[in-house]
C-alpha cells in the first residue's frame, strides 16, 4: 500500500521566506553587490564556474550570493541554469601555449625559458590573519616592471619533450568528436577525454584527497610540478555561417603539468610520464589534484597494477561530481516515512520470531 501524505505547503513557503530573510541578514548592513563578489571573492566565483562547468563570472557571483556562500549549492544552481540554454557550438581547443600569463612556475626547472612568475599567490605568506582585513585600508597599487623583451614562455613539457625525455602529447584524433558526459552517459572503460572532462568539473575536495592519497603511497607516483600557469586564453569558434574561426572573448584558466617517473616498458624507454590538469579560473590546488588523478588513472596505459582508489576509474568518475553526490546524500533527509515503517515492521517481526524461538528452546530444555 502506498500512502500519500499531503501537507507542508505553508511551512515550505514560510521556510523559503525565512531563508530570504536570513540570506539578507541585518538590513542595516549594506547588501553585497555582484561586483563585490566577482572582485573580492574571485576564487569562490572561479570554483563555482569550474565545478558548475559554466564560465560566466556574473552568474557565478549571483549563485554564490543566492546560496549564502554555500559553494556546492551555488554550483548546483549554475548546473541547473545551463540546462536551460541551447548549445550553439564547440570551441576550437584553447591554446594554453599562447596564454596571457599571470602566474607561471616550475618546480623542475629553475631557469626555464620565460622564467618563474609568481603572480598573485598565497605561497610564501605566513598564514597569519591580517588585522587590516577588518577595515577598509587603502591598498597600494601593485609594483610594475617594464617588460620589453618578448620572450615566449613555452609549455615546460614542450621543452622536455624536445629531448625525448618525456612522453609526447600524442596526436589528437580529429575525426572523432571528444566524449561529452553532459550528452551521453558514462561508459567504462572511459577514454582519457571523458576522464579529463569529468575531472575538470569534479569536486575539488574529492580530487584533492585522491591526489593526496597517491602521494602517500596509494598508487605509487613520484610527481613533480613541471609547470603551473594561470592566465587568459582566447576562445575561438568556427561559425558555420562564416567558414572561418573568430575569437569571441577570453577565459581565465589554470593549467598544471605534473611529471612523474616511469621505468619504461618493452616498447617504451624509461622516461617521464605526465598527468594533466586544466580548470576554469584560478585554482591551482584543483589543477594539481586533477593532474595527479589523471596520471593515476592512466595506470593501464603503463602496465601499472591498479590497486588504489585513485587508479580505479569507475570509483573516481562515479564519485567525483559533487552535484550528483550531494543529491544522493541529501535526499536521505526527505520523507522516507513509508520505507522506514516497512523496515520497522520487519524488525518487529524478526524480534517476535526470535522471542518465539527462544521460548521454544527454553521449553525444550
Amino acid at each position: 500500500m502506498y500512502v500519500a501524505v499531503k501537507g507542508g505547503e505553508a511551512a515550505i513557503a514560510n521556510a523559503h521566506r525565512l531563508l530570504d530573510d536570513r540570506r539578507r541578514g541585518d538590513r542595516s548592513v549594506p547588501v553585497l553587490t555582484l561586483d563585490q563578489i566577482t572582485q573580492q571573492l574571485a576564487l569562490a566565483v572561479d570554483r563555482v564556474m569550474a565545478e558548475g562547468s559554466l564560465y560566466d563570472p556574473e552568474l557565478a557571483a549571483m549563485a554564490v550570493k543566492q546560496a549564502r556562500g554555500d559553494l556546492i549549492e551555488a554550483i548546483f544552481l549554475l548546473r541547473a541554469y545551463r540546462t536551460t540554454l541551447p548549445r550553439f557550438a564547440a570551441s576550437k581547443p584553447i591554446d594554453t601555449g599562447a596564454m596571457k600569463i599571470e602566474r607561471r612556475i616550475s618546480a623542475t626547472y629553475k631557469d626555464l625559458p620565460g622564467g618563474q612568475l609568481l603572480g598573485p599567490t598565497f605561497d610564501y605568506t605566513h598564514r597569519l590573519i591580517e588585522p587590516d582585513m577588518a577595515d577598509d585600508r587603502p591598498v597600494p597599487e601593485p609594483e610594475r616592471r617594464s617588460c620589453d623583451r618578448h620572450e615566449s614562455a613555452p609549455r615546460v613539457t614542450d621543452i622536455l619533450g624536445a629531448d625525448a625525455m618525456i612522453e609526447p602529447d600524442g596526436e589528437g584524433t580529429p575525426e572523432r568528436e571528444p566524449a561529452d558526459l553532459t550528452r551521453s552517459p558514462r561508459t567504462f572503460p572511459a577514454d582519457r577525454d571523458a576522464r579529463l572532462q569529468a575531472l575538470a568539473r569534479g569536486d575539488e575536495g574529492f580530487l584533492l584527497a585522491l591526489g593526496y592519497s597517491t602521494q602517500r603511497g596509494y598508487g605509487r607516483t613520484h610527481p613533480f610540478v613541471g609547470e603551473i600557469r594561470i592566465g587568459e586564453v582566447e576562445v575561438e569558434i568556427e561559425l558555420p555561417e562564416l567558414g572561418f574561426p573568430v575569437a569571441i572573448g577570453r577565459v581565465k584558466v589554470t593549467e598544471c603539468q605534473m611529471i612523474s617517473q616511469f621505468k619504461g616498458s618493452k616498447s617504451e624507454p624509461p622516461q617521464f610520464t605526465r598527468g594533466y590538469g586544466l580548470v576554469f579560473g584560478q585554482s591551482e590546488r584543483k589543477a594539481m589534484s586533477m593532474s595527479l588523478v589523471d596520471r593515476a588513472l592512466r595506470a593501464e596505459e603503463f602496465d601499472e597494477e591498479r590497486v588504489s582508489p585513485a587508479q580505479d576509474e569507475e570509483f573516481v568518475l562515479a564519485h567525483s561530481d559533487n552535484v550528483q553526490a550531494t543529491g544522493f546524500v541529501e535526499h536521505l533527509k526527505l520523507p522516507h516515512y513509508v520505507d522506514f515503517q516497512a523496515e520497522l515492521e520487519l524488525l518487529r517481526r524478526m524480534r517476535s520470531e526470535q522471542q518465539y524461538e527462544d521460548a521454544h528452546k527454553e521449553a525444550a530444555q
Binding site: 569550474a50 548549445r87 550553439f88 564547440a90 602566474r103 612568475l117 609568481l118 568539473r201 561559425l239 605526465r274
Partner: protein, 165 residues
C-alpha cells in the same frame, strides 16, 4: 602575370580580407557595449538593421587538449550571446554575424551590425580607425598593465657565496 599567379594573388587578397574581418570581429566581441553603442551613433546613424537571428543567449563548449597539445577534450561550457542582422545597402542586403562571450544581447546585436557595416565597405576605413583600433589599443593596454605587474613578480635567482674562499 600568368593565370596561376593571378589566381594566387586573388586568393591572397581573399585571405587578407578574411583576416581583416576576423580581427574586426574579435575586436567587436571584446568591446564594451556602451562603446559600441556610441560608435554606432556616429557611424551607423540612419541605417536600418533588421534582426535575422537573435540576439539569443546560449552556450559554447570550451575545449582543451590533453597535455596541452594532444587530443581535444571538453573542458566546460561558457555563456555566449549571438546575433545576426541584415543591413540594407544600395546594392542589396548584407548579413552581419556576431558571437560574444557572456550574456549581453545589446552588445551582440551591435557587434553583428558592425560586422555588416564593415562588409558594406564604404565605412570600413572609419570602422577600422574609430572602432577596431581603439578596442585593440585598450586590450593591449590592459594586457601590458597585467604583464608588467606579473613581471614585477619574476624570480631573479642569484647564488649566495658562503664563507671564505
Amino acid at each position: 602575370m600568368t593565370v596561376s599567379a593571378k589566381h594566387r594573388s586573388h586568393e591572397q587578397q581573399v585571405d587578407a580580407q578574411i583576416e581583416a574581418r576576423r580581427r574586426a570581429m574579435a575586436a567587436f566581441a571584446q568591446a564594451g557595449s556602451t562603446f559600441l553603442a556610441d560608435a554606432w551613433e556616429r557611424l551607423g546613424a540612419g541605417r536600418t538593421a533588421l534582426p535575422v537571428r537573435g540576439p539569443e543567449v546560449g552556450l559554447v563548449m570550451v575545449r582543451g587538449r590533453a597535455g596541452g597539445g594532444g587530443a581535444p577534450f571538453n573542458l566546460g561550457e561558457a555563456s555566449v550571446t549571438r546575433a545576426s542582422v541584415r543591413l540594407e545597402d544600395r546594392d542589396g542586403a548584407v548579413v552581419g554575424h556576431a558571437m560574444v562571450l557572456g550574456r549581453d544581447p545589446d552588445k551582440a546585436g551591435l557587434a553583428a551590425r558592425f560586422d555588416a557595416l564593415w562588409q558594406v565597405g564604404d565605412q570600413r576605413e572609419r570602422i577600422e580607425t574609430e572602432v577596431v583600433a581603439p578596442i585593440e589599443e585598450a586590450l593591449a593596454e590592459g594586457d601590458r598593465k597585467r604583464t608588467e605587474e606579473t613581471e614585477a613578480t619574476r624570480v631573479d635567482f642569484f647564488t649566495m657565496v658562503r664563507g671564505e674562499d
